[in-house]
């Protein structure tokens, strides 16, 4: 079993969480956000005049109670380009992501996943939980699900949509008979644009006003597209 955190956060310290190793297919994992370079040396590799991006620890709530914003700490990533002056790096437990500065953030956690929402307006546990109305406006979300806990159902659902190489893993989850087989679809949403970068890495865009992978969970469809940066399952397909 592979451990993505050790490679994706080489120097960052997300409080007590950086050492946490998900013994799982941390798939569909918003590993993308964690994969940013930390420190000027790394930033120099992709552009001149790198600037530090503010680090924002986010509050949250979940399985064992509220988490204070100060519990997630870390290094500020350095980015090149004008956009760096408009962005901040928001982090919660094992996940972190770039988003516009001065936005608000809140995380949810459990044995299944760490999920971080960054939005212009403040949100809390009650309006981010799964049974609350979907988010209507601008949003950046990073989610990291474990493939070995109850997070495996979400992992399998997304893997079925995007990664044929994960077919065996998906069928194992279906065979548990905990979630109906009809929940898993072995093809992308019809109107999503999917770019598969390898057998276990993909990116996609859900177009405006369409149901797709980008709008199937907490984000409501509206007149703007939802884009997903490259993400994947850091585990060899053969071990699934």
């Amino acid at each position: 079993m592979l451990h993505p955190v050790s490679i994706l956060l080489p120097s960052a310290n997300l409080g007590g969480y950086s050492a946490r190793r998900w013994r799982a297919c941390a798939v569909l994992a918003g590993i993308t956000g964690l994969a940013l370079a930390f420190g000027p040396v790394a930033a120099n590799a992709f552009g001149p005049r790198p600037q530090p991006v503010p680090f924002v620890g986010c509050p949250g709530d979940g399985q064992t109670g509220p988490v204070d914003a100060s519990e997630t700490t870390g290094a500020a990533p350095w980015l090149a380009g004008d956009a760096a002056s408009h962005l901040a790096y928001y982090a919660f437990r094992s996940v972190g992501v770039l988003a516009p500065r001065s936005w608000r953030c809140f995380g949810l956690y459990g044995s299944d996943a760490d999920i971080l929402f960054v939005t212009p307006d403040p949100h809390g546990f009650e309006d981010l939980r799964a049974d609350a109305p979907k988010l209507q406006g601008p949003v950046v979300v990073i989610a990291r699900h474990s493939g070995e806990t109850s997070g495996r159902f979400e992992v399998a659902a997304v893997a079925a949509r995007l990664f044929p190489a994960a077919r065996h893993f998906v069928h194992k989850v279906i065979a548990e008979n905990i979630v109906a087989a009809s929940h898993f679809h072995f093809a992308p949403y019809k109107t999503d644009t999917v770019r598969r970068l390898s057998s276990t890495v993909a990116e996609f865009v859900t177009p405006p006003n369409r149901k797709g992978l980008g709008t199937s969970d907490r984000i409501a469809a509206n007149d703007q597209p939802v884009a997903a940066s490259p993400f994947g399952c850091p585990i060899r397909a053969t071990t699934w």
Binding site: Q224, P225, F231
Partner: protein
């Protein structure tokens, strides 16, 4: 998985969020490889 929906006037920021990771990784394959 990172999902981004920003208003059109923040298109430049969307690009930065979506592309910086890929640049940093060098190759997206790294994500799939892990260690």
């Amino acid at each position: 998985m990172t999902l981004v929906r920003l208003d059109p006037d923040l298109r430049r920021e969307v690009r930065a969020i979506l592309t910086q990771t890929e640049r940093t990784l060098g190759s997206p394959e790294l994500v799939g490889r892990g260690k």
